[in-house]
Structures are given as structure tokens and as C-alpha cells.
């Protein structure tokens, strides 16, 4: 048995293991992995997502027991400190010595910290590991609302800027070059990106060389030149990477003059039994700081060790990349900056929309050589394929960047026109041929199945849309229609299940799964089906409580420590002083933390489960009803003060908002939905950031649909212009009902409208011109929902069997003594997670 030792458990080291166990005969090889970090390999590419939920496990590439199950010995928190290549042994910092037959160095890189005076001060960090992030986060808490600089305006630097912004600090990006992302973008596209980022509150400082870091012990500022300073409370350095090549140096392997262990196209170092892959390897005199080339190196190394000696690293490495940076698409491929002697460029720029598209075309106009996309990179995959496969260009190559998908016609033709050898997933090197074969011959019919079989779309995920298109087209060629099934228990889409429940008159979950499903259901299909029952029969969440998400089951929002929050409806944000006092009295009585929400109402936090019916009983006595803040249902209709008080108001927005909130309250839908009413075009109610919005204009109301805030903010689109109030309500009734019937589970209206073929024009035809002949049905269904509203909290407090659910223990009157609060600005908050 041969022993293969892998030094480093990062993304590339992990990929090596994954590929090795897939190909190697387990009886012939023993794989041993050493990682210096305490954690198992995780996805550094998506590190900034750690901030969104602080959940480190979600980033890990495989659980620890994956290594055990595959016979890999994994040592974490154990640094390999020495290689004795003459004896073929390694020694670790804990004193372990081990013999290898072949050694793979995948130690990756460390952030480059430039030798600036003062760089050792407190408050200066790098951006690389989860530990770095945790330290940065801890420091950020001590300087709440302060300024943070990011040294380096490259790809990682901008990611770090986003992370810093999420910590509640004011980000300042400092770049030495005169443009952002100097490796990927040309000057004009960099400017477009800069304008966009600045509009989001990120300050950009270009052409700045940092002389020293100021402060006594801890950082207070940065000095660039004489009289050129910036006051900051924290600094995150993201000035590129340096290979972690100490082991190569100390063991006498051949090194590059500026670092990196030199490898040939077999990934061998100067000692043929030692291979190096990833960011520590110097190939073609280059360190490749991208995941895809690292994964290719891992594949070559695996092949070489297993004797497939003809598997070699390509001579030229594609550095094409696409990413979503702080919500802005940025992509570059092929030769992004092209000298004019090789071809010419076609450039489209629109600064107000933050759009920039450039393609470089050969002189004869036949070949695509490269390009840059900022603001909209939807066409990246197709452009990359055209470039990589040297596909013929259309007669007017400009059609590739202007026109495009929005007009319906595609300049690209079909994904099926690609050659079978086209690499669709570059992280895992999966070709179009392999994906289609997986569908056509192996019978994999969903993205999940194809991804499992081929590994396509399991890396960065950027090729997902294209893989989906290929699956759809392949299925079509088999004469099959494509299904988006909601989970393993139902071979139906949400829309199909909706129709099945309605047409067959199915009454509950058990009946549905016994009739058309299999197994016993799960946390995906149960709440989706619950919403369907609610939309058809307008039943409250009390009826089938165990298929509801916890929030619906207990009619309250579960919070960090397992307590709940309480939100009564305050329609249109209008509240009387008497109601305010009642709410204050109740909140004080139950010691609840109170806060005004973004939806113009009041949220009361920290209620224990058994207190919920007591609190609601009192609220209902004071005339309140449930605000359904917990439900996938109408939340609020936000309004500005309107013409009753405002000197600019064109119409009475508050009255309208109250009317409409009462109309749609209690209606359950695929996801939550919100509304807004503004009394004039100043739009103080932000109605265009809602799922539906009305804005008063001279001569009527403008109706907007399909907007939202959240992670991907989207402005609503104009559905109808200058219509009277009755028509406005009528159109929105039909829009909501059509959405409820056809959307996928947990799909907001914006995403639904985005996917609706024909977009807003199609929707106008359906709800205004009745192109499908369904408006009478939609109107009747909506009216039935409106007419059958009841307050589910009233139902709960008045029904003993429902009320009985609200105890923490079923065998004891005690409450949960594990809940702990600490004080916060004269109120309380949950104790921090340990």
C-alpha cells in the first residue's frame, strides 16, 4: 500500500482528496491529510456569506465524517513543519513523523501584507480565513458606526468592503492603481463599477500609496502623502496573496525568484515525488489565484499519481471569471484588454444604469477574443462558450451585447448549438456532452440529479442557468416536458399541486400525499402545501398546525433564543394615541422589547411561548388583530401621509393603504408580500420597492408590481398608468391571485415576474386584456379570500384545544428556564450565543 500525504486542507487540497478517492483503488493507497486550520476545508470563495448568517458550517465543503467514511486520515490544527525529501518523511509541529510515497503540497497562500510603517497596530486585519473574519468582527463591534479602510481595490478587497459594510461600518477602499479591479477591468468599466459602488455608500480612493498607518497603539488613520490623510478606525488589508512556500524553500525544492514552488505540467516540483497544486504552485511563472485552475491542477496531480501520465496541465490557463460583487455582476473573459493590432472592440456603456459591456472581436469579425461585462453578466456563459469554442459570430456582432435576451430573440442561438466538447462547468471541467449524456442516457432529469452525477454546478454555481437550459433542452428532445418538482415526496410543481388540490377538492396534507405523493413529507413540501390549502380554502394555520413552519404553527416569529415576537396589525401605519398606550401598557406588563418595524408598525420581542395567548387576549380586547408578521402572507401596506396633511399630496394615500391592507390581510401566498401607497411621485412610501404599489398622479393612480427590498432590491414595474382606484385594485387583485396560483414555493413576486415568459407585457395581457380568459375566475377567487377573512389569533385564544398548544412542557406548568436575557438600552435582549 502506498501512502499519499496531502499538506493543506483548503479548497484545492480538498478537491484533490475528492477526485483521488473517486478514481483510486482504496486497497492500494492510503491518503493522509494535514491541515493547519482547526476547521475542515471550507469554501473561501463565498466567505463574505459568513457575515450574512455567521454560520461557518454552511461553508464547509464536506463534513468531518466524510473523511473517515472514505478512509482518509485527517489531522486538523496540525502544521507540517518539515519535509525530509531524501528520507521521504514529513514532520509536524506536534512532533509526528510520517513516511510518504508521494507528497502533495497544497498549502495555498497567505494575504500579502505590504511593509508599511505601523502595520502592526491594533485594528489592522487581513481577509482570508474564518478566524480573520471573526477577529475583524469582534473589533468592529468596539467601533460601532466608525470608518474602516480596505487596502486593495481588487476582487477580494471589494468583497471585504461589502463585509465591512455589513458590520455597520463606513467602508473606504484604498487602491494604488488608478482603477478598481485592475487585473480584470479596463478604465471605463472600472469607472462604471466605481460610480455604482459609490452610490451604495462605498467610498473609493484611487492612486493612493500608503506611507504609514497612524495611531498610538491602535489605528486612527492612514497617511498617503503630505497633507493627505484619511481618518479610520480599522483597516483590512487585501493587497494580494503570497504563496505559502516555506516548506518548499526549507526542503530545497526549486523556487521562483519571487516565491512559489516551481512545477511542470505534471504538477511535479523539482523532486518528482513531490507535487504542488493550487496557489502555492508556480506554473508558467504565474501563481493562479482562482479556484478553477487550482481544481484542474488537482485533477492532473491525481492522474499523475495514478499513472495516467498523459494527463497534463494546459499550456494556457483561462482566467475568465464572473462574480456578483455586492450585488453587481462583474465578468471578464479571454483577453479583456486587447491591443488594437489584434482586433477591434465593441463597447456599450450606460452609466445611469451602471452597465458596461465590451467584446473584443478579431479583425475579420469572425472570432470572439474576449470581453468585459459590468452590471449585467447574464450573457457571460454564452459569450465564454463562443470564445472558448471559437464559434462563428453573427453578422452583426454588436447584437451580442445590445439587444440580447430582453427582446425575446437570442443572438446566441440555442445552448444545443454548442459543441459537445464545450466546457460548461469550468470548476469541475464538465462538458456539454457529459451533461446531455447524463440526461439522455442515464435518465437524470433534474438539476439536482445531474449535479450529483456529473458534479456540474457544484463549484461556484455560475453555470447553473446554462446547465438548467441544457437539461430542459435535452428533455425536450426526448419529448418530455420539464418538471420543477417541489421535493422528493411529490413529482409535481407547486402550480400542479395547486390545481390538484383545487380540482379534486383535497382537504388535508395526509390525503394529498396518500393520493399523489409518496413517503411522509418533509420541511419543504409541508409548508408549501399548507400555503396551497390556505390560498384555496382560506383556512388559518391553526387547522393543520403540524405542517406549518414554526412561525405559522405558533402564529408568531421565532427569535434567536426560542422566544417569539408579537406584531399586531396597524393598517397603513395609522394608530391612535389610545391604541399606542394600550400597546405600551401590554408590552410593559410582559417585559417585551419594543421596536418600530420597517413596515410602519410595532414589534414586541421576547415573549415566551406560554405568554403568547395571554398577550394576544389583551391585545384583542383593545381592538387589535393579528398582523401576520410571521406568515407567508400580506405583511403591511406602507403609506406616506398623503393629501390629508401633506401640501404636495395628490390623493389620500393613507385611506387607500388602510383599505387595501384590510382587503388583502390574512391571504397566504408562496412568499410574504408587501404593498405601498404614495400620495405623489416623491414616493415617500417607497411603493416601488414593494410587491405592489400605488402612486397618485395627476388624473389617477399608477400601479406597480413585482418590486422588493431585501438581498436583491428591485424596483416594481409599471402595470397600469393613470387608472381610477377601482381599476387599480382590480388589476392588483388579479396579479396577486395569478401569482399565488403559479409561483414556485418561496418565490417572491419580483423573481416570479422575472421568470414569467414575456414579463410585464405578458402580465398586462393576462390581468388587463384577459388574454387567457381567466380574469373572472381570478376575481371570484380573490373575492372569496377577502370575504372569508378571520383573525387567527382570535380563533386561537377562544379555542381551548388550540390554546393548549402554547405551553413549553406538556407535563409541567414551568416555563423554559434556559432562556436568558441581558439588558440593552433600558430594554432587554437575548443573551449572546455561546
Amino acid at each position: 500500500m502506498k501512502t499519499i500525504i496531502v499538506i493543506g486542507n483548503g479548497m484545492v487540497g480538498y478537491k484533490f482528496c475528492e477526485k483521488f478517492i473517486a478514481q483510486a483503488d482504496g486497497a492500494k493507497y492510503k491518503l493522509v491529510v494535514f491541515g493547519e486550520e482547526p476547521r475542515v476545508a471550507y469554501d473561501r470563495v463565498h466567505l463574505s456569506e459568513f457575515f450574512e448568517d455567521g454560520d461557518a458550517e454552511r461553508l464547509s465543503l464536506a463534513p468531518r465524517n466524510w473523511y473517515t467514511e472514505n478512509g482518509i486520515d485527517l489531522y486538523t490544527s496540525e502544521l507540517v513543519s518539515e519535509i525530509q525529501k531524501d528520507k521521504k518523511t514529513i514532520t509536524t509541529s506536534k512532533g509526528t513523523t510520517m513516511v510518504y510515497d508521494q507528497l502533495v503540497i497544497a498549502t495555498g497562500s497567505v494575504p500579502f501584507v505590504p511593509p508599511i510603517r505601523g502595520v502592526e497596530k491594533n485594528g489592522v486585519f487581513v481577509y482570508r480565513t474564518i478566524e480573520d473574519l471573526e477577529e475583524t468582527l469582534a473589533y468592529a463591534k468596539t467601533i460601532k458606526g466608525g470608518k474602516a479602510a480596505i487596502l486593495g481595490g481588487g476582487l477580494l478587497g471589494l468583497e471585504a468592503a461589502k463585509a465591512v459594510m455589513d458590520m455597520g461600518l463606513e467602508p473606504h477602499v484604498i487602491e494604488f492603481a488608478p482603477k478598481l479591479m485592475p487585473r480584470q477591468l479596463d478604465t471605463r468599466s472600472s469607472k462604471v463599477l466605481q460610480v455604482k459602488l459609490e452610490s451604495m455608500g462605498i467610498h473609493i480612493h484611487l492612486s493612493k500609496a500608503t506611507n504609514q498607518i497612524l495611531g498610538n497603539g491602535k489605528i486612527t488613520g492612514m497617511e498617503f502623502g503630505e497633507d493627505d490623510m484619511l481618518e479610520v478606525d480599522m483597516l483590512v488589508i487585501s493587497a494580494g496573496i503570497r504563496p505559502r512556500d516555506e516548506l518548499g524553500k526549507s526542503s530545497g525544492l526549486l523556487m521562483g525568484t519571487r516565491g512559489g514552488i516551481i512545477v511542470n505540467n505534471k504538477m511535479q516540483t523539482s523532486d518528482p515525488d513531490i507535487l504542488a497544486i493550487g496557489e502555492v504552485a508556480l506554473y508558467n511563472q504565474m501563481i493562479y489565484g482562482l479556484v478553477a485552475p487550482g481544481y484542474e491542477m488537482a485533477q492532473v496531480a491525481v492522474d499523475q499519481i495514478l499513472g495516467k501520465t498523459d494527463s497534463l496541465m494546459a499550456a494556457e490557463i483561462d482566467m475568465s471569471t464572473k462574480l456578483k460583487l455586492i450585488g453587481v455582476d462583474v465578468a471578464s473573459f479571454g483577453t479583456p484588454f486587447m491591443p488594437s493590432d489584434r482586433g477591434h472592440s465593441i463597447i456599450f456603456e450606460n452609466k445611469t444604469e451602471s452597465l458596461y459591456k465590451r467584446i473584443n472581436v478579431s479583425h475579420d469579425g469572425k472570432k470572439l477574443l474576449g470581453g468585459i461585462l459590468v452590471g449585467d453578466a447574464d450573457d457571460y456563459n454564452m459569450l465564454l462558450q463562443m470564445y472558448q469554442n471559437e464559434m462563428p459570430l453573427p453578422e452583426n456582432p454588436e447584437a451580442l451585447i445590445i439587444g440580447g435576451r430582453n427582446e425575446g430573440g437570442s443572438s446566441f442561438g440555442s445552448v444545443m448549438d454548442l459543441p459537445d466538447t464545450a466546457v460548461v462547468c469550468s470548476c469541475e471541467a464538465v462538458t456539454k456532452g457529459a451533461i446531455c449524456c447524463s440526461v439522455l442516457e442515464d435518465g437524470n432529469e433534474s438539476l439536482k440529479a445531474v449535479a450529483k452525477a456529473t458534479k456540474a454546478a457544484t463549484g461556484c454555481g455560475g453555470c447553473k442557468p446554462m446547465v438548467n437550459d441544457l437539461i430542459t433542452e435535452s428533455l425536450k428532445s426526448l419529448g418530455k416536458t420539464v418538471k420543477i418538482q417541489i421535493c422528493e415526496h411529490f413529482d409535481y410543481s407547486r402550480q400542479e399541486l395547486f390545481d390538484i388540490v383545487k380540482l379534486r377538492g383535497i382537504q388535508d396534507f395526509d390525503e394529498l400525499i396518500d393520493t399523489v405523493g409518496k413517503g411522509h413529507g418533509c420541511e419543504i413540501c409541508k409548508p408549501a402545501v399548507a400555503a396551497i390549502f390556505a390560498s384555496i380554502y382560506n383556512e388559518t394555520a391553526n387547522k393543520q398546525e403540524t405542517i406549518q413552519d414554526t412561525n405559522d404553527r405558533y402564529l408568531a416569529n421565532i427569535q434567536r433564543n426560542g422566544t417569539y415576537s408579537v406584531v399586531p396589525r396597524v393598517a397603513g401605519g395609522e394608530i391612535t394615541p389610545k391604541q399606542l398606550m394600550a400597546m405600551g401598557r401590554i408590552a410593559q406588563k410582559y417585559d417585551l422589547y419594543t421596536k418600530i418595524t420597517g413596515g410602519q408598525r410595532i414589534d414586541m420581542f421576547g415573549a415566551k411561548l406560554h405568554e403568547l395567548p395571554l398577550i394576544w387576549e389583551e391585545l384583542i380586547l383593545e381592538g387589535f388583530e393579528t398582523g401576520q408578521a410571521y406568515g407567508k402572507s400580506l405583511r403591511t401596506v406602507k403609506s406616506c401621509v398623503g393629501s390629508t396633511w401633506c401640501r404636495y399630496g395628490m390623493d389620500e394615500s393613507v385611506s387607500f393603504a388602510i383599505e387595501i391592507e384590510h382587503r388583502y390581510k390574512g391571504i397566504r401566498s408562496p412568499h410574504k408580500f408587501k404593498g405601498g401607497v404614495s400620495g405623489c411621485i416623491r414616493e415617500c412610501a417607497e411603493a416601488r420597492g414593494k410587491d405592489f404599489g400605488f402612486i397618485a398622479v395627476e388624473g389617477g393612480w399608477n400601479v406597480y408590481v413585482g418590486g422588493n427590498g431585501g438581498a436583491n432590491p428591485k424596483h416594481a414595474e409599471l402595470l397600469a398608468e393613470k387608472v381610477d382606484k377601482e381599476s387599480a385594485i382590480n388589476y392588483v387583485d388579479r396579479f396577486i391571485m395569478y401569482y399565488i396560483k403559479t409561483a414556485m414555493p418561496l418565490q417572491r413576486t419580483a423573481a416570479w415576474l422575472d421568470k414569467l415568459e414575456g414579463g410585464i407585457t405578458y402580465l398586462q395581457n393576462v390581468v388587463i386584456n384577459d388574454s387567457l380568459g381567466i380574469v373572472d375566475e381570478l376575481d371570484a377567487e380573490m373575492q372569496a379570500l377577502v370575504d372569508s377573512y378571520k383573525c387567527e389569533w382570535k380563533e386561537a385564544v377562544e379555542t381551548p384545544e388550540i390554546r393548549e398548544r402554547y405551553t413549553h412542557f406538556v407535563n409541567s406548568e414551568e416555563s423554559d428556564d434556559s432562556i436568558e436575557f441581558v439588558s440593552l438600552r433600558d430594554q432587554k435582549m437575548p443573551k449572546e450565543w455561546a
Binding site: V40, D53, D55, E57, R58, S60, P63, R64, N65, E488, D510, G519, H520, G521, C522, E523, C525, K526, P527, E545, T546, I547, Q548, D549, T550, R553, Y554, I558, R560, N561, G562, E804, R805, H808, F809, V810, N811, S812, E814, D816, S818, I819, W833, A834
Partner: protein, 125 residues
């Protein structure tokens, strides 16, 4: 907090030395769970009616150390019965306690028996 986690250890039915009479069957919703208190322990008990089986496990989710698993939705993945934590949807097997969609510690499970319409949970102490 970690000490809290250590108070829960899986009990196999052959090791039960005490069957704790917890609550009447009617207090547990069909295809859902409820929490019982035994000494200083919180145990989630699930009435998996569709399977015709009862399960019990610690109420503590090992992810963020919150006492919430009894309020989770139950279901099955490839016929492996499971509970999804209501906070972050971590799935745990009700049979083995293993974390099914990640790398968290397993949760402790306990045997359940029904006698005369009462739910009993087995402990080894």
C-alpha cells in the same frame, strides 16, 4: 453551554432502567412534537402518526444551543425519519440522532413506549 450539551446521552431500549410516565397521548399532536421535562432535562417527543412510531430526542439543538427541537417539523428523507430545527432547518435523524445536512454533533435519542394511552420515555438513570 457545552456542559448543557453533555447532559444528553443516547439511551438504547435495552439499557432502560426507568420508564418515565410523561404525559397522555392526546397532548402530542399528530405528526408533530411536544416537549417534556424530566429532572433537569428537556426531551422532545414526536408522534409520527404516518409511520405509526414514536420518537424522542434532546430538545436542545446543538447548533446554537436553543431549546427548540420539539417545535420542529418532522418528516422523512429516503424513509429516514427526521426533525428539522425551526431556527435554521438543521435536519437530525430521529433514529440515530445524526445531523443529516451538515457536520454538527449528533443529538441524543431516547426510547418511547405507549401504555394505557400514556407516553413513557426511557432513561438509564
Amino acid at each position: 453551554m457545552m456542559a448543557q450539551l453533555n447532559t444528553y446521552e443516547t439511551v438504547k431500549s435495552e439499557n432502560v432502567i426507568f420508564w418515565f410516565k410523561a404525559a397522555p397521548v392526546a397532548r402530542f399532536p399528530k405528526n408533530g412534537g411536544a416537549c417534556i421535562k424530566y429532572k433537569d432535562k428537556q426531551i422532545a417527543v414526536f408522534n409520527f402518526t404516518r409511520e405509526g412510531t414514536w420518537y424522542a430526542c434532546q430538545n436542545l439543538c446543538p447548533h446554537k444551543m436553543e431549546m427548540v427541537l420539539s417545535r420542529g417539523m418532522i418528516g422523512e428523507e429516503n424513509m429516514e425519519p427526521k426533525v428539522a430545527c425551526p431556527l435554521h432547518k438543521n435536519n437530525f435523524s430521529l433514529k440515530t440522532g445524526n445531523h443529516l445536512n451538515g457536520d454538527l454533533d449528533s443529538i441524543a435519542t431516547y426510547p418511547v413506549k405507549i401504555e394505557d394511552d400514556f407516553v413513557y420515555v426511557g432513561f438509564s438513570e
